[in-house]
């Protein structure tokens, strides 16, 4: 038995190595091409240069677009996770309808182009000024759906007697939520946040129609296709990757000794 388990573990490690290789292979190319001395040819090598990095720092628009994208994604993620979590809780407790269950997925079924054009027309009708805010509203439409569906996976089979006990002991609903329920669904919330943030950062069609003059990173890149995307974009992406990697390593190293145990729920009242 032990032997087969060790075998499984080894097999899983190989699987993970291959998976990360698959995920990062194109990124290696992307980083290499950020040093490509070519005006337009994004896919063939023309010699080494660091001029694209210089160009990035001389081009506040590109970095600005990246910043805008991150702010939009952060806001859309916050709204989506908050509303999605509430929705998941409500659905799990109060519905017995498969139609309502499935309604959670409905926003994902709407083709991007339909939602984009529909929202543009709708915003025009209600005279909502277009910009970062209107993109956040739009991205939250599907963000809530992703968040609700993921958080719900945590609630299946959740032993509500703990909540009940807390309530019976006279703890109010809100503190009960934060002390009992939240720790249980936290991994779902983290997963949901990662999904929504990532999708928002890379989303083009809906952002394009609801952006007005606001330029997000994808809008900038797609608008450049017509006359050649320059390796400057690769340089920006490389900087972003490098920055994120440093953050991850720092997060792993800081207080490394402190949290090696596994404080998984349901330990409950650690608030």
């Amino acid at each position: 038995m032990r032997e087969s388990r060790a075998g499984t573990a080894r097999w899983l490690r190989i699987h993970m190595t291959l998976l990360y290789a698959f995920l990062y292979l194109p990124l290696v190319v992307l980083v290499v091409l950020s040093f490509n001395d070519a005006q337009r040819a994004v896919v063939s090598w023309r010699g080494f240069t660091t001029r694209w990095y210089g160009a990035v720092f001389e081009n506040p628009e590109l970095l600005g677009a990246l910043g805008t994208t991150m702010v939009i994604a952060a806001m859309a993620t916050t709204i989506s996770v908050a509303l999605g979590t509430l929705l998941a809780l409500g659905l799990e407790r109060h519905t017995r309808s498969s139609v309502l269950d499935s309604a959670v997925y409905f926003p994902l079924l709407v083709p991007d182009i339909v939602l984009g054009i529909a929202l543009l027309s709708f915003y025009s009708l209600i005279r909502l000024p277009l910009g970062a805010g209107s993109i956040v509203l739009a991205h939250s439409v599907w963000g809530i759906a992703f968040a609700a569906a993921i958080v719900r996976t945590r609630l299946r089979g959740f032993d509500r007697s703990i909540e009940e006990a807390s309530l019976d002991l006279g703890v109010r609903e809100v503190p009960t939520f934060f002390r009992i329920t939240l720790p249980v669904i936290l991994p779902g919330i983290v997963s949901a946040a990662l999904v929504v943030f990532t999708l928002s950062v890379d989303e083009f069609v809906i952002a394009y129609f609801t952006a007005g003059r606001t330029v997000t990173f994808p809008i900038q890149v797609y608008s450049m296709i017509r006359f050649g995307v320059t390796p400057e974009i690769n340089a920006v992406a490389t900087l972003l990757l490098g920055f994120s990697m440093v953050l991850i390593v720092v997060a792993l190293l800081v207080n490394r000794g402190r949290t090696t145990s596994d404080p998984r729920p349901p330990e409950g009242a650690t608030g």
Partner: protein
């Protein structure tokens, strides 16, 4: 419909009484959707019952012609091809994603779990177009992969890795893998190793454990992951265009084309409406089956 509480849930009913106010938790999301989803798309999709104007736009004459036209074998063929591609993509994502989610979820250190998860999504913070160009550099006939394989003496002639269905599926799997792994992780993370070990110690067979302990708990995660991958795969158009060389189109491309190139919002709306209806019906059926199976478990 079926408002009877299963008996095993009886204890929770008392808890529910305390949560009187919490039905309100449904409201914010549904209001949000009523305003920013349902209202706008209804405004557009009603055009499917009207006619395209000579220069685009909508002529307000009621007609069902758009729906009739959607049943042209041409469009049904595109739909069938899309379903096949999306299905294969979903299966592959699951086969790769499940072990990965399991591995990450079973790391004892929460920091390591978080780092591994972030590493899964990190590549997607870069731009789609640039990542796709990078794949083209890797996979083209004179590309890095072909040259390496030839260098190692594994192949004589370059493999056709691009501009075919293989490239489309690979591109979709690459793009949507995180959407499979993250919900699976959320579902698997609470699967305590102790439960499994307890069951093993009690003499249960691994397969039986998978069926009776693991699977029921992670089923919602599997469903979420599969929906997250299948639905956007069906609607994706840049991947077939760039990696598939535009040799075949998928439903997403078709709808896009009608709205943009054809300036035919009525027909584009009809196609979108039909696609959404079919998917919605599939989802409701899926949810029925799932609820049914859960109630059986609860009774057991």
């Amino acid at each position: 419909m079926d408002r009877t509480e299963p008996s095993a849930d009886g204890g929770a009913r008392r808890g529910l009484a305390h949560w009187r106010g919490s039905r309100l938790t449904l409201a914010p999301a549904f209001v949000w959707w009523a305003v920013f989803l349902v209202t706008p798309i209804v405004l557009i999709l009603v055009s499917s019952f009207f006619r395209r104007g000579p220069f685009g736009g909508v002529v307000y004459e009621l007609t069902l012609a758009n729906f009739v036209r959607a049943f042209d074998p041409l469009y049904l063929g595109v739909l069938w091809y899309s379903v096949q591609i999306a299905f294969i993509t979903t299966v592959i994502c699951f086969l790769i994603g499940f072990p990965a989610a399991y591995f990450i979820a079973t790391r004892p250190n929460p920091r390591v779990r978080a780092a591994l998860l972030v590493l899964v999504v990190l590549p997607f913070l870069t731009n789609f177009l640039i990542r796709t160009y990078a794949w083209i550099v890797l996979l083209n006939r004179e590309g890095v992969v072909n040259q390496s394989l030839r260098g190692m003496g594994l192949i004589d002639a370059p493999l056709s890795l691009l501009y075919n269905d293989f490239a489309v599926v690979m591109g979709l799997v690459y793009g949507y893998l995180p959407l499979m792994i993250l919900p699976l992780y959320a579902a698997l993370e609470r699967l305590h190793p102790e439960i499994r070990e307890a069951a093993l110690d009690l003499g249960a067979r691994p397969l039986r454990i998978l069926r009776t302990v693991t699977l029921p708990l992670v089923l919602p995660g599997i469903v979420a992951g599969c929906v997250f991958v299948f639905v956007p795969s069906l609607g994706n158009f840049p991947v077939p265009q760039l990696l598939g060389g535009g040799r075949r189109i998928m439903v997403g491309n078709l709808i896009n084309q009608q709205f943009l190139e054809g300036r035919d919002w009525p027909f584009g709306s009809a196609l979108a409406l039909m696609l959404m209806s079919v998917l919605m019906i599939l989802l409701v059926v899926q949810s029925r089956v799932l609820r049914h199976s859960r109630e059986i478990q609860l009774d057991a």
